[in-house]
Symmetry: C2
Subunit: 367 residues, 2 copies
């Protein structure tokens, strides 16, 4: 059976009505809609067809129709119109995003919380996976007789460090030599390359003279590199999931929250997802705990390379169009921020962040 013009219209009406009200939609309600000037009976016939085709379901005989995941998929792919955000809405997002005084991590966390507040959904944001980050600079710095600080600076401007207890005496000169040798050996390599290259072995043969120092430093070097690969996940608005009617059942809510709080799992899944805006709806999600939810994620980039993810999780019955627009705009903004400022010095704007007046801060973007 083909999806006639009229069927599409009806389907769209059902979907948007259901998204708005969370109530099954009946034929009478629909027939009163603008642009659907048919009797309830006619609409019922069409709905029966749509149900047969898998676009609608029926909680029980005498209830209205509810869109299926298949219907949402059609809606997202073809039916919905993605509205441009208004200037005002954009200003709210941009202002709040700029209103971060601290570092990169905090900005990401902040972005998640903005997203959650605006959408009234649970949001999350993942810092970039830094596998491809390139080592720029390695330095060892004397702190006291037995402590040095190992410091790794990467092309993306990230600085990682670790205090190292030295078991052998050292001089400023030997420290500098070791720093230079390490920089020479690893500069230009990505973090993951450096890690796979079996660093320690290489070193022992290369620079026998200071093998004692290297023995102290290298394990810490590896650990710091590993640390640099770590991805942080921030989650905000967790309690919003209680607005999903499916989770008014406590045991379901519990297992859902259990799943969401397993950051490692979530992170893995986020990494696997495609870059760009990605929507998965209901049973398109593998995880059984997610089958009543939809996920919208998008990626932002840092320095044009490293890719982080941000997104929301909510009921399949969510405002796909609006939310997609919001996330799109938010990630564009993030990417811009991290291009412009090239690294950590992203905070001159803290003084004039409220130039559009503080009255914008608390507003909410609706509909």
């Amino acid at each position: 059976m083909e999806l006639s013009e009229r069927k599409l219209k009806i389907l769209q009406a059902i979907i948007s009505d259901y998204i708005r009200t969370a109530e099954p939609v009946g034929s009478r309600t629909l027939s009163k809609k603008e642009g659907l000037d048919y009797s309830p009976a006619t609409i019922r016939n069409e709905m029966a067809d749509l149900e047969e085709m898998g676009y609608l379901t029926h909680p029980h005989t005498s209830a209205g129709r509810v869109p299926s995941d298949k219907a949402y998929r059609l809606y997202v792919n073809e039916l919905m119109d993605k509205p441009e955000l208004t200037q005002n809405e954009k200003a709210i997002i941009a202002n709040r995003l700029r209103d971060t005084t601290v570092d990169f991590e905090k900005t990401i966390e902040h972005a998640a919380s903005i997203l959650s507040e605006i959408t009234n959904l649970t949001s999350f944001a993942m810092t970039p996976k830094k596998t491809e980050d390139v080592i720029k600079y390695i330095n060892l710095l004397s702190v006291d007789e037995e402590t040095v600080v190992l410091m790794i600076v990467s092309e993306s401007g990230k600085v990682s460090n670790k205090a190292v207890k030295m078991s052998v005496p050292y001089t400023e000169e030997s420290l500098e030599l070791l720093s230079k040798t390490m920089t020479y050996n690893y500069k230009g390599k990505t973090v993951s390359q450096a890690l796979t290259n079996n660093i320690i072995a290489n070193f022992e043969t290369d620079v026998v003279a200071m093998s004692g120092m290297a023995e102290d430093v290298m394990p810490n070097f590896m650990k710091t590199l590993e640390d640099m690969l770590n991805v942080n996940l921030y989650m905000e608005g967790l309690s919003n999931i209680f607005d999903i009617p499916e989770y008014s059942d406590i045991s379901k809510a519990k297992s859902f929250i259990e799943m969401l709080t397993q950051k490692d799992e979530i992170t893995k899944k986020l990494i696997e997802r495609d870059d760009g805006i990605t929507v998965t709806i209901g049973d398109e999600n593998e995880d059984s705990n997610l089958q009543d939810c939809s996920l919208i994620t998008a990626s932002y980039s840092v320095d044009g390379k490293l890719v982080g993810k941000i997104g929301v999780i909510g009921p399949t019955r969510m405002k796909y169009s609006k939310i997609t627009s919001i996330i799109e705009y938010l990630t564009e903004n993030l990417t811009d921020t991290f291009k412009l400022e090239s690294g950590e010095t992203a905070d001159e704007s803290s003084e004039d962040a409220d130039e559009n007046g503080p009255e914008n801060q608390g507003e909410e973007i609706n509909e």
Copy 2:
């Protein structure tokens, strides 16, 4: 009215029964208990007295008795016996705690998750408030023509850094001079002292020759110091709160989770709490969302000075005795860890962490 020996016995029996079963306790049940060889009627009389004195309540006429917060308080203060953990239980905690390969932050997070798993409650752990941390060392390091890295090392071994974009040209020598001057000025001061001293103003007058560089560096210095004051809060086992019968009501559960996920608020409250083991029961908590819960917190220290907190939140009906012992042991262990290793190099044990065999890892401490 006095609390006779017999009343205390009955009260204790009710409390421990109720903690175990979560069901109101009736007179018949009690009279069958070891050591309470009175008829139900006698016990009923005593219970009526206890209720009048405020130690028991009554969900409704024909239900058994339930301990009041006042009763729990009495129990915690006087009635309960704090059992020493068995060697096996201690080994489980110690082993799992040692099984952290990474840094300080991760260890704290790990401790929270251990605590949550063992107690089946929601746990949290706060990293120390570093107000009292003493600045040991400040360094500026050239990365490229326009970027330097500012690094602050503290007595407790914590290293903080920040990449700084320089708006004026600089030489290695001027960098070193600035580092030395800063170190000279701030070494020995605590982070909070340094912050209150109006650093920037001081500097402009002192070292006119490099005021351009200082103008770039000082704001970042302040921000980094502020950053050092940040306290991180980790929370684990959030979903365990659904086991509290009070929160089988969705709207209550929602507002509860809302409260718990406001990290700033929670952090503030944790900081305010006394050091050492502290138990607050039900309505002893100011927050209205916490009035059905009890909180047990304890403090651990790092380097003998900085104090962090760790604790659990659960139903007033929790196993106070067991949980107190667990938290006590855990914090002792944490304090030891951070004394021994003095700083960041806390990970040699990663290889032999499972010396007692991996079969211990999954076990749970019951009763």
